[in-house]
């Protein structure tokens, strides 16, 4: 195809020219790839932080890492993984895929799109600059050590001396602004730039979920930005928002933070749901079961997720009625989430499952997310939450949701769309190793954490005393963490090897049904020579099965 040739001719140009091309690009696909590269970089950083944490917890009374460094590590780990790994990776996937899936040439505002990426990267750089400031010259650095939700008044000048917290505030604030521009762009693109014929109820589920996702970003991120500005005013202008000595409230920060923080969980989960909703049907060779209820459940999740934030605050001592309300709302959100799991499972029924790597990750996601969801129900049971909240049980729960959920799906997405983005297949053998090491390591790492938590181990402790029965479970976790580390190492080897000498992918290696597979791999900068016309939810199915097209049934 002529398009592919243009791609190759640019590969021959000098490195500087190529780099210049990447830095100044406004092409949604390149920006998408930049986002994913950034995410993978920070994944390594955040992963190494996690390994250090696990090493320190290997035995009781370990002195490998001191308390301050440890507290910085878990703060940086959490902040990095959420703001600079999962967020950019989902932005990357959305950027790359949405215009291709809805059949347009680029996003609505390409330059704004580039701005969004550079803001996100800049935010990450601000955060990590903290390691090179303050104490760094004669100590171990002064990264923020207030935890990723930075509860007041631990962030006030009295308790957080120096500038470390400012790096946290500014880094996440700047990247948050970038995320907002991304969401604005995405909504405008999806609403107004769909291919002719593609109605809003015909977009691929990934696109639909990204639309809801972007809506959540629009509502949830500005309150965080506002709260962070208030915190800055507290720290530098003498304001008293969270200053408990002058009548301010430590609880207000928690409300504002979790009003962002809980939707944020779904902001990170919905794109994963979207990816699963693309992978599971293709590798089951079946249409998604219940498209409409899937879409409705997504909207319901988006809506309910705005009203559950205080379930992070059951131990704060809120009013009984508030606790009851937020408990009920949190239970309620299990219903649309359950519908999704049921629909995916039902899609498997009667299919012909091809257990290629993307599908392995998708199935792994289903199992892990199921566990994460069910422990979520336990945590929504307020009195049980009083016991297990802020313990390792909670740590296990949200890692099953965010790692077993979001990150497994995003990894599956990497295997699924890598051929589209590069024209090369990722190795299936290495992929299977990657998956199984990750799957086993993951369960070995986070499974025992449930038990450590139930045995009374609180989160965020840099060490623990012997004789509590926690040692064994922590050692299992640490072993699991390193198994996962090897898994990721294989993933990176796979990326490099396959990029250099992977099998040629062709336009449509998975025999899939959405529009991105209708163009070349990698697609030309203009995506489609001719904008396709769409009549159903699976335009390529219609094309491949003219005798039995989808639009007859919709």
């Amino acid at each position: 195809m002529a398009i592919a040739e243009t791609g190759q001719s640019s590969a021959a140009s000098p490195l500087v020219t190529q780099l210049h091309g990447w830095v100044t690009t406004v092409d949604h696909k390149r920006i998408g790839i930049l986002y994913i590269l950034m995410s993978l970089f920070f994944l390594v950083v955040g992963g190494v932080e996690a390994l250090l944490i696990r090493l320190q917890l290997w035995v009781p009374n370990n002195t490998l890492i001191g308390p301050d460094t440890f507290n910085q590590l878990f703060t940086m780990h959490g902040t990095t993984m959420i703001f600079f790994v999962v967020m950019p990776m989902l932005s990357g996937f959305a950027n790359y895929l949405v215009p291709l899936m809805i059949g347009c040439r680029d996003v609505a505002f390409p330059r704004l799109n580039a701005l969004g990426f550079w803001l996100a990267l800049f935010g990450g750089c601000i955060l990590y600059t903290s390691y090179f400031t303050g104490d760094a010259l004669y100590g171990l650095g002064s990264a923020p050590d207030v935890g990723w939700f930075a509860y007041a008044p631990l962030t006030s000048p009295a308790y957080a001396r120096g500038g470390s917290v400012d790096y946290w505030i500014l880094g996440t604030l700047v990247s948050g602004v970038g995320t907002l521009t991304f969401a604005v762009n995405l909504i405008a693109t999806i609403l107004t730039m769909r291919a002719p014929g593609m109605k809003l109820n015909q977009v691929p589920l990934f696109v639909w979920m990204m639309l809801v996702d972007a809506g959540l970003i629009i509502v949830a991120f500005p309150p965080l930005t506002a709260a962070q500005i208030m915190l800055l005013l507290d720290r530098y202008a003498g304001a008293h928002f969270f200053d408990t000595q002058a009548g301010g409230s430590a609880i207000l920060w928690q409300h504002l933070f979790w009003f962002f923080g809980h939707p944020e969980v779904y902001i990170m989960a919905l794109p994963a749901f979207g990816i699963i909703s693309e992978i599971v049907p293709v590798f089951s060779r079946k249409v998604i079961f219940g498209y409409a209820s899937m879409a409705a459940a997504t909207a319901a999740i988006g809506f309910i997720s705005l009203g559950v934030w205080a379930h992070h605050m059951f131990t704060v001592g809120l009013d009984d009625r508030l606790d009851a309300f937020f408990s009920a709302a949190s239970f309620l959100i299990a219903v649309p989430t359950g519908i999704k799991i049921f629909n995916w499972t039902a899609t498997l029924y009667g299919g012909r499952l091809q257990l290629r790597t993307p599908m392995l990750f998708a199935l792994g996601f289903l199992g892990m997310f199921l566990i994460g969801g069910l422990t979520g129900i336990m945590l929504a049971t307020v009195p049980v939450d009083w016991q297990v909240s802020d313990s390792y049980f909670l740590v296990a729960h949200f890692h099953y949701v965010l790692f077993g959920g979001s990150l497994f799906a995003l990894m599956g997405g990497c295997y699924y769309w890598f051929p589209k983005a590069t024209g090369k297949m990722l190795s299936e053998t290495l992929g299977a190793w990657h998956f199984w090491l990750l799957f086993v390591g993951f369960n070995l790492l986070f499974g025992p954490m449930h038990i450590a938590g139930i045995m009374g181990m609180p989160r965020r402790v840099y060490t623990y005393e012997a004789g509590q029965g926690w040692d064994f479970w922590n050692q299992l976790s640490t072993i699991g963490a390193f198994i996962m580390g090897i898994g990721f190492l294989i993933f990176f080897i796979n990326l490099v090897l396959s990029l250099r000498s992977g099998q040629k992918a062709g336009d449509d290696p998975w025999d899939a049904w959405t529009l991105e597979w209708a163009t070349s791999s990698p697609p030309a900068s203009y995506n489609f020579e001719q904008i396709p016309t769409v009549r159903s939810r699976r335009p390529l199915w219609d094309l491949k099965h003219p005798e039995d097209p989808d639009w007859k049934y919709e």
């Binding site: 408990t244 060779r285 239970f331 499972t345 499952l353 257990l355 069910l374 009195p383 064994f472």
Partner: protein, 352 residues
């Protein structure tokens, strides 16, 4: 025909059960090695028992869901997987777009479960949130500090630290203790799993918590909300004693500090150095409030918020360099000479 079906069923059954069984085995095998009942499943108070029952209930419900959904998932993967090496077949399986009755069913079923759970939760929240203490109940003001606990007994007029002593409560005629939870600096959380769930100590807010122990004994707990450098070493020790012993303990605590002439050198160091600025010794000029009350230091089993056993060696080590046991602790290193440390420890050892 029959046997064939049976064989297929067995195969399917094995396919369905293989993974859960394997997982269960993996999960259970270490339990044999380190069999130890988690404290929250071995409660010693009515509230903690109630939480355990509720935990068992949700555990049962979620396990059932896990087995059903996970089982279906595992079975479908096994049953419908494209067998490797099977002849290539380009035809597609029948496309099922959805089924309204099924979708409605699996929307309603979870909704019902969730509704029931909500009602159960609301009922038990109302039952367990402590009503205000009535006349004659024991109240203790618990104040969280970075990184130790202050326990004030306002009715008895004394303050102690880190080790909370309460009278046991008869299950038939309960006499719970009410904690009034406050914070002097950042947010902490009071958590003793055998006795109750956790409640936060929030600055500029007063929380209440009911604490009750049906059997005498020592109940360990800790701060559960990240509160800075030494969050990990902010342990709690609740000692439940019989009401008679409690009365005796209270009488002991109400006394002012003992003064012995033999340890005058140490006492002098305490008053002259900054010690007295942060620590109170009742009856003496030391009235500092920043650190723990030391009037009856030797009545406590541990120092530094449960980090070290309270004995001569540890006291001396602690005074010589607090950062050794608890790096970052607010207790400063006073750079005392070994002789001064010895004299000071001699004095502290008299504070019984």
């Amino acid at each position: 025909m029959r046997s064939l079906r049976k064989g297929r069923f067995r195969q399917a059954y094995w396919g369905m059960m293989r993974w859960p069984l394997a997982l269960a085995l993996v999960a259970l095998s270490p339990l044999v090695l380190v069999a130890q009942t988690p404290e929250m499943f071995d409660p010693a108070s009515p509230d903690a028992i109630e939480i355990r029952e509720l935990f068992y209930l949700v555990l049962a419900i979620t396990t059932l869901i896990f087995v059903l959904v996970g089982g279906a998932l595992a079975y479908f993967i096994y049953r419908f997987r494209d067998p490797p090496g099977a002849p290539r077949d380009d035809s597609e399986p029948p496309q099922i777009y959805g089924s309204q009755p099924i979708e409605i069913a699996w929307t309603l079923a979870p909704t019902l479960i969730v509704l029931v759970l909500s009602l159960v939760v609301i009922r038990s929240v109302i039952a367990m949130r402590s009503e205000p203490p009535t006349e004659g109940t024991l109240r203790v003001r618990a104040v969280g500090h970075q990184w130790w606990w202050e326990f004030e007994y306002p009715e008895f007029g004394f303050t102690t630290a880190n080790e909370l002593v309460i009278p046991t409560s008869d299950a038939d005629a309960p006499t719970p203790v009410y904690l009034q939870l406050e914070s002097a600096d950042v947010i902490h959380s009071f958590w003793v799993p055998k006795l109750a769930g956790k409640t936060d100590l929030v600055p500029a807010k007063t929380n209440r918590m009911r604490l009750e122990a049906n059997a005498a004994g020592i109940y360990e707990g800790r701060c559960a909300e990240y509160c800075g450098t030494q969050h990990a070493k902010m342990l709690i020790r609740v000692t439940a004693v019989s009401p008679a012993e409690f009365e005796k303990w209270v009488a002991d605590q109400q006394r002012s500090a003992a003064v012995a002439a033999s340890v005058d050198a140490g006492r002098q160091i305490f008053m002259d150095q900054a010690c007295a600025n942060c620590h109170t010794i009742r009856g003496e000029p030391a009235i500092g409030k920043f650190g723990p009350d030391l009037t009856h230091l030797m009545s406590r089993h541990t120092i530094a918020s449960g980090v070290l056993e309270n004995n001569r060696t540890n006291l001396a080590d602690w005074l010589t360099d607090p950062d050794q046991a608890k790096p970052g602790s607010r207790m400063p290193n006073m750079r005392l000479s070994p002789t001064e440390v010895k004299q000071l420890v001699d004095y502290l050892m008299t504070l019984e």
